[in-house]
């Protein structure tokens, strides 16, 4: 927003730049620091003696002979079975995203093309469902799931995450479908298409940006979830986030805390790369509901 009329004083420019630099430091430094520290031994990153060790790598040098070590990573991925957790995360995320989008596009399309009152009430109900804390839902699941003996396995968790994710996906896709002109599918209907054919061949091809945005948010929900996965999966099937928590444990013996550090970095890096790649979609998704509706 560069107005021709708007002259900024130098003081304001300096203040603005300083503020942004400080904020970016606050926002990003913790991640950079953790990344740096994950290549050290515990005695350096969690130094009782002197925090400066984390930079000079005093103990890392003593213990491993180098300034950087990948011991934490190799141990967490093999001994700590982080490979299994990340495999589970990939499975859960993949299915949650696919199923969410399939159900969500169908439902949101119907909502956006209906002129009845109930479409409005369904959206309000979805908003209320969106507000439910996940842990209250989990406390509703546990008992029936134990009784039906479907607790602890991946498919149950996938279905639950899809359902929890639906309200947000519906709202998001609804606002995207609203931007696609009605005339497009109406003309297809006149030409003899069924609603499903119009949806499949006319509307979906122009909806890709919206679908990618909704997919990214489903992905972030499934990938980041702790409440559902920690309580609905057994130890064997844990995904990455509950696995990280299990490394923290109550008995923090030597290696484990560094496992958690390296696991945090391993889990965060793919997410950051994905968001860097799809940044525009993330932002348009976040604002879709707010600005258009």
């Amino acid at each position: 927003m560069e107005y021709g009329l708007d002259k900024r004083s130098n003081a304001l420019k300096i203040f603005n730049t300083t503020f942004i630099i400080v904020w970016l430091l606050v926002a990003c430094f913790p991640f950079i620091w953790t990344f740096w520290g994950s290549f050290k031994v515990r005695a350096d990153f969690f130094s009782r003696a002197d925090w400066w060790y984390a930079i000079t790598a005093f103990n890392t040098l003593l213990e491993t002979g180098g300034k950087f070590t990948t011991d934490a990573y190799s141990q967490a991925w093999t001994e700590g079975e982080f490979w299994k957790a990340s495999r589970n995360t990939v499975i859960v995320t993949f299915f949650v995203v696919t199923i969410s989008l399939f159900l969500g596009t169908l439902g949101a399309y119907a909502l956006s093309r209906s002129t009845r009152n109930y479409a409005f009430w369904i959206l309000i109900a979805a908003l209320i469902f969106r507000a439910m804390p996940h842990i209250t839902l989990v406390s509703g699941y546990l008992f029936p799931f134990f009784q039906l003996q479907i607790w602890g396995i991946l498919p149950t968790t996938i279905v639950v995450l899809v359902a929890i994710n639906q309200p947000f996906t519906l709202w998001l896709l609804y606002s995207f479908f609203k931007t696609v002109p009605k005339e497009l599918d109406e003309s297809a209907l006149i030409d003899g298409c069924s609603y499903f054919q119009a949806f499949r061949h006319i509307i979906m091809p122009v909806m890709w940006p919206g679908v990618i945005t909704a997919g990214l948010f489903s992905l972030m929900l499934a990938y980041n979830d702790f409440t559902v996965t920690a309580l609905l999966l057994n130890q064997e099937n844990h995904t990455m986030v509950p696995k990280i928590q299990s490394y923290l444990g109550t008995n923090q013996h030597e290696g484990n805390l560094m496992w958690a550090v390296s696991a945090v970095v391993s889990a965060t890096a793919p997410l950051f790369m994905l968001v860097m790649f799809f940044q525009r979609q993330v932002i348009s998704g976040l604002t879709a509901g707010a600005v258009k509706g």
Partner: protein, 342 residues
């Protein structure tokens, strides 16, 4: 769209939501009226050369049998709601009679688990939400003034705290703030107090979690405000500049009214999210001095011996009531708008 077509299009997602959001709420409601069985005890007579003693032990066999027969537990009505771990009606009455000053009474009540958690949850909401709005708005304004070319990477850096899961976000901060971390160690040096640490002080723990909350949620407010700022019309802004309005006046009288609907949206979303605060408590290992409503439920559900379904469900129902109170003004407003629109 005809009703029938709508039905088939909406069926899959509707079914998923009814089965896994609607029914669980009902299931929680039912569970909250039941409590886990008491252990069946029996008297055992033990005799040794020095005489006989009668001791009371848990009859494991009978206990597990009764638990298997009625897994839901025994019917308890509203018993769980009013017990010591929830609304604690009886205890409050007792405190009221026993304590002399009102301050003392409040002190006693806020030591009860449910009220303790409620107060933390509300404090968290109360401090985090307005600060998130404020910080998000300031960041949006100041990034909006930066040259367009370098905005991309700046936005990426800004949204990082938001895209990591709260558990990871709080861990990353905790490792720095803890006594053995970079910030914690430096604070100790600065304050000249070698025992200063997060765990040692309740106030410090609360402040840390609140700061974490602001750090984690501000990017969301930023993103929405930033997008809204792009839609502010230029003509009134330019007219205001010509009329000699100061920068603050322009923000106050043109920009803010324009993005007002978005502000309420962000406030609502972050209020809902803040009310369910839970993962940071685990990340900061702050269970000792900060408990939230969601954390209470989690604690009941991971109970070692017997999962306290009834207790967790009762807290859940009260949390849902809390959410309903938060949402009520918005729902009423939407309902009114809807009626006038018809």
């Amino acid at each position: 769209m005809p009703n029938k077509t709508f039905f088939w299009f909406f069926l899959p997602t509707g079914l998923a939501m009814i089965l896994f959001i609607g029914l669980p709420i009902i299931s929680t409601g039912i569970q909250s009226f039941y409590a886990q069985h008491d252990q069946v005890v029996k008297e055992v007579k033990k005799c040794d050369p020095f005489g006989c003693t009668v001791s009371i032990v848990v009859d494991q066999e009978k206990t597990s049998k009764i638990r298997e027969e009625k897994p839901l537990g025994k019917f308890n009505g509203f018993g769980t709601y009013v017990d010591r771990n929830h609304l604690a009606i009886e205890e409050i009455g007792k405190f009221w009679d026993e304590t002399n000053t009102f301050g003392e009474f409040v002190d006693q009540v806020t030591n009860l688990p449910f009220y303790k958690a409620l107060i933390f949850t509300l404090t968290y909401c109360l401090f985090v939400t307005p600060n998130v709005l404020l910080l998000g708005f300031i960041i949006a304004l100041s990034l909006n003034a930066v040259t367009r070319r370098i905005r991309g990477p700046l936005i990426f850096g800004t949204i990082l705290p938001m895209i990591v899961t709260p558990l990871v976000g709080s861990l990353v901060l905790f490792w720095m703030i803890d006594a053995e971390g970079i910030i914690g160690a430096n604070l100790q040096m600065l304050m000249d107090d070698p025992y200063l640490s997060l765990k040692s002080s309740k106030t410090l723990t609360w402040i840390t979690i609140i700061i974490y909350g602001i750090w984690h949620h501000s990017p969301f407010a930023f993103v929405v405000f930033y997008a809204a700022l792009q839609t502010v019309p230029q003509e009134p802004v330019e007219a205001a500049i010509i009329d000699g309005a100061s920068r603050w006046q322009r923000v106050r009288h043109i920009v803010l009214p324009h993005i007002y609907p978005v502000v309420t949206f962000v406030a609502l979303i972050s209020l809902m999210d803040n009310f369910r605060v839970f993962e940071p408590i685990i990340g900061f290992s702050a269970e000792g001095s900060a408990q939230s409503l969601s954390w209470l439920i989690y604690d009941n559900l991971v109970n070692e011996e017997v999962i306290l379904f009834g207790s967790a469900a009762a807290t859940s129902m009260m949390t849902i009531v809390g959410i309903a109170i938060l949402l009520a003004p918005v729902l009423i407003r939407t309902w009114k708008e809807f009626r006038t629109a018809r």
